[in-house]
């Protein structure tokens, strides 16, 4: 029997979501202002930059490889002792502080800087309508609700295999695993269906997963969708988007007080220097926001 006291123990000043150039810059600038900073990144940090063969327009590095620049960035955050958590953020909710939900648990922060990059989230027809009514993104949250039942796990990465194992072992579920990627291991203890789902439909008891070239769909009690990327609009409730980009002003403030955004997720040009600059502006905004919070608290006490 364990107890959790996280919310009473540790509240970060700034939570940076994303470990690309903008996120690293935001974290460095926040830390330089003596704030307690954490970066959440589920993938390798700076993965996109690392892949660049040659970068010729980043000041101070006339002819560097992506590997060299990313190493320099990573050394910088190591040097500053910035907390880097290799966890996927699944949702952010504003309470007295921001609650950052990850697949491993949660954390609390006074401000949030979204530096999540620009990717597309694949959504299936019927997914939004059935959310909480047979479709779930979180085994930890909803596994118990389907204990002993039949579930489908649809995943775009190997992470789904662990979740499928957990559903089988911890909750006694019959699992059909549907990989949206090239599955390497063949010794899985659950059944595997290599076919791309088309849509989800409600059934009297459960959900039907429809497939191309299959007359009858797969009927299960629940569907778990394990995605590597969640669009910012779904990540943060009420976040204003402008098309695929997060709507920000010149101070990198979003429409939600205390939430800032920087880098590719705010729009082009998709360059390192632009991302680094926006990361800095966002961090300075977050620092200013925290000062305002602190002075409000002082006024209340007086």
């Amino acid at each position: 029997m364990k107890i959790s006291l996280g919310k009473f123990r540790k509240i970060y000043d700034i939570a940076v979501i994303g470990g690309g150039a903008a996120g690293i810059s935001a974290a460095i600038n926040g830390k330089a202002a003596m704030k307690d900073v954490v970066i959440f990144e589920s993938d390798e940090p700076l993965l996109k930059i690392r892949k660049a063969r040659e970068i010729r327009n980043y000041p101070g590095f006339p002819k560097a490889t992506g590997e060299e620049i990313s190493e320099a960035f990573l050394n910088h955050i190591k040097e500053m002792d910035i907390d880097l958590k290799r966890e996927k953020v699944t949702g952010i909710v504003r309470e007295k502080n921001f609650v950052i939900y990850t697949q491993k648990g949660k954390a609390w922060a006074k401000t949030v800087i979204l530096a999540v990059g620009l990717k597309s989230e694949e959504t299936f027809p019927g997914e939004e309508d059935l959310l909480g009514k047979g479709v779930s993104y979180c085994v930890l949250c909803d596994g118990a609700a389907y204990s002993g039942g039949k579930v489908a796990v649809i995943s775009d990465s190997e992470e789904g295999e662990m979740e499928a194992e957990a559903l089988k072992k911890d909750y006694g579920c019959g699992v059909v695993y549907i990989p949206l990627y090239e599955l390497k291991s063949s010794d899985a203890s659950f059944s595997i269906l290599k076919n791309r789902p088309l849509a989800f439909k409600p059934r009297e008891k459960g959900v039907e997963v429809e497939f191309k070239d299959m007359e009858e769909g797969l009927i299960v009690d629940g569907v778990f969708l394990i995605k590597q990327f969640t669009s910012p609009g779904r990540l943060v409730r009420g976040l204003k988007m402008r098309g695929r980009h997060i709507a920000v002003n010149r101070a990198m403030e979003t429409n939600i007080p205390g939430v800032f955004a920087a880098g590719d997720c705010t729009g082009g040009p998709f360059k390192i220097a632009k991302a680094v600059g926006e990361g800095q502006i966002a961090a300075l905004g977050a620092v200013r926001y925290i000062s305002q919070l602190d002075s409000q608290k002082m006024e209340v006490k007086q």
Partner: protein, 211 residues
């Protein structure tokens, strides 16, 4: 071996000392030779020893029928916290892991008799005329559940018209059969209306639910 490590116990002593105002009584309903009841009793005994403002009363579900009926207890283990009055909040299960934070916030809210809701929400709750019974389904491991449970507890503390059953469906899987839609947690039921996921911690969404 203790359930609450000394480091956490020290933090809890500080929190209770700083935030609690009046005395509260924690009522625990158990059955003998029931492992969940044993766990709940051990946890709450340790917790109540951390502040002179917290007392613990343990009732046997089979023997103490008068108390069981007075508090409308339907299953065990069950917890309720009484402050200046009974706020109509019942927790069914063992409030540990993630739900331990719910228990701590609940103790503080009842002890203070006030909550941190917006003035608009408090006004709307004051205007509530009908009694509303909410049921919140959680699991102790669900990271999103405590924020929802805590918000609903705040509503119940703020309004005499709201009562709440919080049920851990991991402890009581059979309750899933009692509800008309597929279950995922956190989920709030108010009559035939439901609220799923994080939206349950949103004051506006909760007000809509009880309208």
């Amino acid at each position: 071996m203790t359930v609450i490590p000394e480091e956490d116990a020290e933090l809890l002593r500080e929190i209770f000392d700083e935030k609690m105002r009046s005395d509260v009584e924690v009522l625990l309903f158990i059955k003998r030779e029931d492992s969940s009841s044993d766990e709940a009793e051990k946890l709450l005994k340790e917790l109540s020893a951390l502040s002179p403002k917290i007392s613990l009363q343990v009732y046997d579900f089979d023997k103490d029928r008068e108390a069981v009926e007075r508090y409308g207890i339907s299953r065990v283990p069950a917890v309720t916290i009484i402050g200046e009055k009974d706020y109509g909040i019942r927790y069914y299960g063992v409030p540990f892991e993630q739900e331990f934070e719910t228990l701590i916030e609940w103790l503080i809210s009842v002890s203070r008799g006030d909550v941190d809701l917006s003035p608009e929400t408090l006004k709307r709750l004051e205007e509530l005329e009908e009694d509303k019974k909410l049921t919140v389904l959680v699991t102790y491991a669900c990271p999103q559940c405590p924020e929802v449970a805590q918000r609903v507890i705040e509503f119940a503390v703020a309004s005499d018209n709201i009562s709440v059953d919080i049920i851990d469906i991991f402890e009581f899987p059979e309750v899933k059969k009692d509800f008309p839609v597929l279950v995922s947690t956190p989920k709030i039921f108010a009559g035939n209306k439901t609220l799923t996921g994080w939206r349950g911690s949103d004051e506006g969404a909760l007000l809509e639910l009880i309208k």
